[in-house]
Amino acid sequence: MQTNKMSKVFLFGGIFTFLFLYIPLIVLILYSFNDSKINVGWVGFTLKWYKVLFNDKEIINAGINSLLIAFTSSSISVVLGTLAGVALHRYKIPLLSALVMVPVAAPELLVGVSLLLFFLLINFTLGYASIILAHTAFSISFVAIAVKSRMFGMDDSIIDAARDLGASPFKAFWLILIPTILPGVIAGGLMAFTLSVDDFVITFFTAGVGSTTLPLAIYSMLKMGVTPEVNAASTIIILFTLCLASIATKLSPQIFK
């Protein structure tokens, strides 16, 4: 009986938590279909805000920028982050394992400001390049952590076995290690991609004049009031994020469970 009661508590707690997380998002999504210029009261169903959104050149350009930046920064961080993850697993230096967590745990504001100061210090012109570098900097940590946790349960002797059975160090890495950790690599890469598409704070500090991303464009639209067009743009970002997150979870269940 006791366990039954407990499981009910957990069930209701779980449902409440999910409602708490998702009600604001659900409201936002619903109002993107609302036939009214202001977000107060339901008037009727429409898709016109999506039409407006897709005809808005600025938003579309910002979206393409976001995707390009995300693609470039996550590609770079997949390579560097994988190497970092493998090294962290192999050499097990406690300080480095803690340091790799810092960009994940540190307040974005701090990371943004420090990157801005750094770019100014080295006289680096702010623009798309600086955004990509900034996104790469925090994405590497996510990939490294995903790869490291994937390797945690791995049998280390498979690399020795590959060498023993005739593989050169490069072949052992490429034919044995990489396929084994691939789910971690992909999961980390998808995380990096999503985070880059969604990022506002760090991008805000590192973007130059004229370079804009989707979150920045939405923010500037908000200055003129929250129109349902913003809701429509947000809905698309949420769905996109949800897709990537579910692929990542599917590929590497042990990392996210």
Binding site: A162, G166, S168
Partner: protein, 367 residues
């Protein structure tokens, strides 16, 4: 003729001497075992032969060729790892084909050879399964097939059976011996399990603290241990304090424990000093028990003693006897009577007899 020569090999890890100047010659076709407790250096020695660890000094020769500085992939030998180390993203057949692909064999030759090996280890119907889809025993057989597929000169086995349950392990003992005889490949086997070592090996090197305590055939290692460590590590052994009373060129007279005196043959007797203290080692199953003193005392030493306790093992019973002066004696008595077992109960008086030649003297320098 020696297929593997290990010459004065030494390895330190962080100031710790793990392998201390070891030299061994392993003959072609041998089933050679490195036996010792964990941390004795046996696995490090094996990894140096495999090329996964490089020695600080010394030489390793395979078939007369110096392989000391060859990377592992260039050595014509393979290792079976404790965890099997199957590649998780490859099927059973792909795992077995891996060494052949690395050696750049033709596709058709690879397929033929892999199929032959799959038949040898009776896994043909599992060829398309992945390692996580087969049992521990089957994984073991895949690992063996993968390591023998390109007919290496030497197979190194690092505690390969430790992950299997007891019944399967015994079954694999027989399979391994059969496989070794059929293929003729020289096996170098690492284990901490004395039963495994005794049952499988043509020769055993007992290692402790990075040095060889004794290297010989299993029956000699067991019945005539050379050092206190070997006597203690392999099976049960009575180690009784012994004093040298007299020596001739090939016999030594000892006073053992509570004053039992006898002479035994010992080729090393001339190196002993009168009055020297050492150990007399005697296996528990070499002793006989009786309630009455009905032993023939011409060849046997007979002692009166008291039963301290006993442990029933099914096929035998182990008695612990008290000889007085804080000296204990273990006796293994077979339970081969047909009318059930009659135990000697605690505190009963008992006569115990043994042939002194069944044991041997260990000088303390080897303790």
């Amino acid at each position: 003729m020696a297929i593997l020569e290990i010459k004065n090999v030494t390895k330190q890890f962080g100031g710790n001497l793990v392998v201390d100047n070891i030299s061994i010659d392993i003959k072609k076709g041998e089933f050679f075992t490195l036996l010792g407790p964990s941390g004795c250096g046996k696995t490090t020695l094996l990894r140096m032969i495999a090329g996964l660890v490089s020695p600080d000094s010394g030489q390793i020769l395979l078939d007369g060729v110096d392989i000391t500085n060859l990377p592992p992939e260039k050595r014509p030998l393979h290792t079976i790892f404790q965890s099997y180390a199957l590649f998780p993203h490859m099927t059973v057949a792909d795992n077995i084909a891996f060494p052949l692909k690395m050696a750049k064999w033709d596709k058709s030759r690879i397929d033929a050879q892999v199929n032959e090996l799959l038949e040898d280890v009776q896994l043909s119907q599992f060829k398309d399964r992945y390692p996580h889809e087969i049992s521990g025993g089957q994984k073991q057989r895949v690992a063996i097939a993968r390591s023998l597929v390109d007919r290496p000169k030497l197979l190194l086995l690092d505690e390969p059976l430790s992950a299997l349950d007891a019944r399967l392990r015994e079954h694999m003992h027989m399979e391994l011996v059969k496989l070794q005889e059929e293929t003729g490949v020289t096996f170098v086997y690492v284990t901490h399990d004395q039963h495994e070592a005794l049952a499988l090996s043509s020769r055993i090197a007992v290692l402790n603290h990075g040095t060889i305590e004794q290297l010989d055939k299993p029956d000699i290692i067991y019945s005539k241990p050379k050092t206190h460590f070997v006597a203690d590590f392999l099976g049960k052994c009575n180690l009784l304090k012994a004093e040298v009373l007299a020596t001739t060129t090939d016999t030594v007279t000892l006073r053992v424990a509570s004053g039992i005196e006898f002479s035994i043959k010992d080729p090393a007797s001339s190196s002993y000093q009168i009055g020297q203290i050492g150990w007399y080692s005697l296996r528990p199953e070499k002793l006989k028990l009786s309630a009455e003193n009905t032993f023939d005392a011409t060849n046997l030493s007979v002692i009166k003693s008291k039963v301290n306790g006993y442990y029933y093992y099914g096929n035998d019973t182990l008695y612990e006897l008290d000889l007085g002066n804080n000296t204990k004696l273990q006796v293994m008595a077979p339970n081969h009577t047909s009318d059930g077992v009659k135990f000697f109960v605690d505190n009963s008086e008992i006569y115990v007899a043994f042939d002194p030649e069944a044991g041997n003297f260990l000088d303390t320098s080897s303790c």
